[in-house]
Symmetry: C2
Subunit: 227 residues, 2 copies
């Protein structure tokens, strides 16, 4: 069992994306401070992250881009690929299906589910949409361990419970409600409405975000009374 | 100038959403531990957050839901309302316009921009779409300080730069690339692809997320060599 922090994985995914861009431009090697500037982290952080991935330690003349990409692939990707299920084919669900269509060979949305009779038994971006009643059987049959929830808030927990009972161990939740999940199930909430309200707050002329210090998240704290 | 942490604002937005749900069900007062359970934070955290909002301190018989909602409204919302600009009317842009349509009286997408001649000079969900060349003038004219970026990665920094030069001070960035922004501009990155890759990693049978301890985010650290 490999135990690793969520933030480390987010950085590794980010490094991989940047390294792919560098490789596409013909760059063969990269220094930690160059990658750090692109990823907006410290060079020391980049070196620490790669220390565990690359046996060779920190090279003097930069990391080999191809070797790093191979090490990241071996660490991040399931060798046999991974299938996901998406629940809720509204605008956001369709946007995510479109994003995925044909783009990621190792991560494929294999099934979608909806309650709308007009949507089921159709293909959306080559992904079959089934009635939500078939979710448990289909998810089990396909061995799906990754779920994407794009239903309204009121339906989100039920969708999560069904997915988890059918074997799902990772959820990306776009519904604006925190989900309850048992230990061993990883939940990532992407709360678009909350992000918009938060940014709207800080975009006002008389508001400012407390700056993060030394790479740590700022302590949650209210500096000024509001009433 | 009110200086406040990003996480505090995220929690206040979340409390407000939960309090609206309670109010809709006729609940008139709520204890900190009840709200804490719904928001998945500690009761002490709820009390600390409200201490700065509500002059009365921690009530014995629960907080008055209507008074809390009023205090949150006064703190979070711009009294005169706020206008946002959205750049990039693809699937995700449309999903966000649909989400907003008629829902939030205090936060309105007032203008959208795209480079596609087939999209400009049309309404999308009642929002006018202008050619991106008109962005600086329109954003200034409308006094917009909040921008939403839903363009492809390669176009994101240019869109951000244009918005910032026109007066925008908060950006929600959906493009899968970290944005550079000057001090005083608040940027929230919503990287859907990264979240999916991260959850896919932890959904695998032999992977686990390092648990967060005592409410703090886990230190970024790799426990196991990957190669």
């Amino acid at each position: 069992m490999i135990v690793v922090s969520e933030k480390t994985i987010a950085r590794l995914v980010q490094y991989r994306r940047l390294l792919h861009q560098l490789a596409a431009r013909g760059v063969a090697s990269v220094h930690s401070h160059e990658l750090a500037a692109l990823a907006q982290v410290s060079a020391a952080q980049v070196r620490r992250d790669f220390m565990a991935l690359i046996a060779a330690g920190t090279p003097m003349h930069g990391y080999d881009v191809a070797a790093l990409l191979e090490a990241l692939r071996a660490f991040l990707d399931a060798p046999e690929g991974q299938a996901a299920a998406l629940v809720g084919i509204g605008n956001l669900g369709k946007a995510i299906l479109t994003y995925f269509a044909g783009r990621r060979p190792k991560l494929v949305i294999a099934a979608a589910f909806d309650i709308d009779p007009a949507k089921v038994h159709r293909l959306f971006r080559s992904v079959p949409c089934y009635p939500v009643e078939e979710l448990p059987a289909r998810v089990r049959e396909l061995g799906i361990r990754l779920g994407i929830i794009t239903v309204p808030a009121a339906a989100a927990q039920a969708a999560a419970d069904q997915l988890i009972r059918a074997g799902v161990r990772g959820l990306v939740n776009f519904a604006p409600v925190p989900l309850q999940a048992p230990e061993g199930v990883f939940v990532e909430d992407i709360d678009i409405a909350m992000s918009l309200e938060k940014v709207a707050f800080f975009a006002r002329s008389d508001r400012a975000a407390e700056p993060a210090r030394g790479g740590r998240r700022p302590a949650p704290r209210l500096h000024a009374a509001a009433v």
